[in-house]
Subunit: 325 residues, 2 copies
């Protein structure tokens, strides 16, 4: 089980490799939210999302022998790129198993980061079986996207930075809203805050209709999502809270938020106009919660993580044209 | 004349108020440029450009009596917003003289930052005369956009940060390419580098056809631009190098770059895709120079300032649709 010692060790391994992302703000966003909004811009992290932290943490924690043999991950998105870049910089072979219908740009990017991309047919083939076979044949280490001690520790380094930055800005008491898929970022940040900034309370944000963590927190038991497709916030849609992450999140988190796709897109447009950062819808759900759910938040300050910015140009342009700029 | 002591004093006044902007990078951009490209993301600064530094420096350097009476600036753009926010946070009255045909959003933003906006008719009225009359009537202090000792000192604080960040990344020798209008940012950064990182050489970047500083540096004498309209990079089009800035820049700068509007737009699109930041064309000319003028640069590293991100949604969307993402 990940603890603060894992997170501190991960921070030491990430030093000089991950970016210390800035905490941004805008008087215009404060006016909308009715309180000060602080935006931890993880979209500026290498590969465009916080996932690089977990990827680096996991790859750098391998033994030399494991690293030489290489790693494998299943992902069509941000985890793939985070692991691929971390592996490349460690000189570790890397296989990414992706669906054949993944966007061509994402496949090309993952290859350009030095990974071997293995495509599978979503309809006819089983991803886990393909991955398990390749991993066994080549003795690769599987790096899961959230249910992995060192991945959670890596994401937790974002929480250490938030604790420091909150102190710099004299923020002692606030909700910290975190985009939540499998819950790795939420769990890691929660553990870091528990130890370093106990006045800061983690709260997950999810897309409406895919708020498995919010419902699980409310009921105390693991709830699954009815669907796995149909959200613009694809980066944070997962079947259910993780086996490692949920026990942490149940212990540490305040109530979750659920926002609509349109609210996420509006947050994307406001982040463009007011913060000059590029967010993907899934990366904007925490900002959307801060802006559009003010009655569910207490206090003069709220901190949100803007977790990723890997969005297609067409969708971004349509968010701007629908919600101004 | 601004010197390093002014810049250090400005940095002390800006501490805790201006953002220490991150130095970003991307392996994909390195591939295009053929060397490591480091991007100082000043678009993330408050009000979306480095101009907040100069505005804060100037307003905070006023005597209590001057501050109480207030400040005035002429600008339709980034300088207006930088001065307005700095004045608001100092409780100083602020008048901004803007052309009546300035974009309504910019007028609204400047008002929302607490400034009194005085509109004039570009065709029939003289801006300087209007400004001088109001300043005299109310005893306001004029804050010029670049030919002002404390403004140059404020912009120089960006150079202090670049010197520190270069040291963190062990960059000892590199060109630092700087978007250049009147030359305030170039001069301030140049002075800071001269003192703190003498291996880093400032070089201005301008739009083609508006490269007054590059031509002035080449000839050793002040050259003017033939036109003042017709560039997408409106934020950095000025009639001629400044009276205070040019002597500094002539002493410190390497040769200038001129890039086309299309190259600037392509840099805007690449900054979206690879860095997840929002740039305006004028803020992207230094990045464009690093990417598209590799033969004019030496060494393994190049640092560029991404100086501003105040771009309309329509133009941004058209940059993405023309140059991909």
């Amino acid at each position: 089980m990940t603890d603060i010692a894992h997170i501190e060790a991960a921070a030491a391994r990430l030093a000089g490799h991950a970016l210390r992302t800035p905490l941004l703000g805008s008087a215009f966003l404060n006016d909308i939210a009715g309180r000060r909004v602080w935006v931890k811009a993880e979209c500026l992290q290498h590969t465009g999302s916080f996932k690089f932290r977990g990827g680096w943490s996991a790859v750098s924690a391998l033994t030399p022998n494991q690293r030489e043999k290489g790693v494998i991950a299943y992902s069509s998105g941000n985890h793939a790129q985070g692991v691929a870049l971390a592996a490349q910089r460690h000189g570790a072979p890397c296989v990414i198993v992706m669906p054949g219908d993944a966007p061509r740009l994402k496949i090309a990017n993952t290859r350009d980061l030095g990974a071997e991309v293995v495509l599978y047919d979503r309809e006819r083939e089983n991803r886990d079986a393909i991955g398990a076979r390749i991993a066994a044949e080549r003795s690769l280490t599987l790096i899961k996207p959230y249910d992995e001690v060192e991945v959670i520790a890596g994401q937790g380094t974002c929480g250490l930075e938030i604790a420091e930055q909150a102190t710099e800005h004299r923020i002692r008491q606030a909700d910290v809203i975190i985009p939540c898929g499998g819950g790795g970022l939420t769990a890691g940040v929660g553990l870091a805050l528990e130890s370093r900034a106990p006045g800061l309370r983690p709260r997950p944000a999810e897309p409406e209709g895919f708020d498995d963590t919010a419902r699980s927190l409310a009921s105390g038991e693991v709830c699954r999502n009815a669907r796995l497709a149909g959200s613009l916030c694809d980066a944070i849609v997962t079947p259910a809270p993780g086996a490692l992450t949920f026990p942490i999140n149940r212990r540490l988190c305040g109530p979750g938020f659920a926002v609509t796709d349109d609210e996420a897109l509006q947050a994307v447009a406001l982040a463009f106009t007011r913060l000059k950062i590029v967010l993907e819808p899934g990366g904007a759900v925490a900002l959307a919660a801060a802006l559009f759910r003010p009655d569910q938040i207490e206090g003069d300050d709220v901190i949100v993580i803007a977790s990723g910015g890997n969005i297609d140009a067409g969708l971004f342009a349509s968010a701007l044209s629908r919600f101004g700029g």
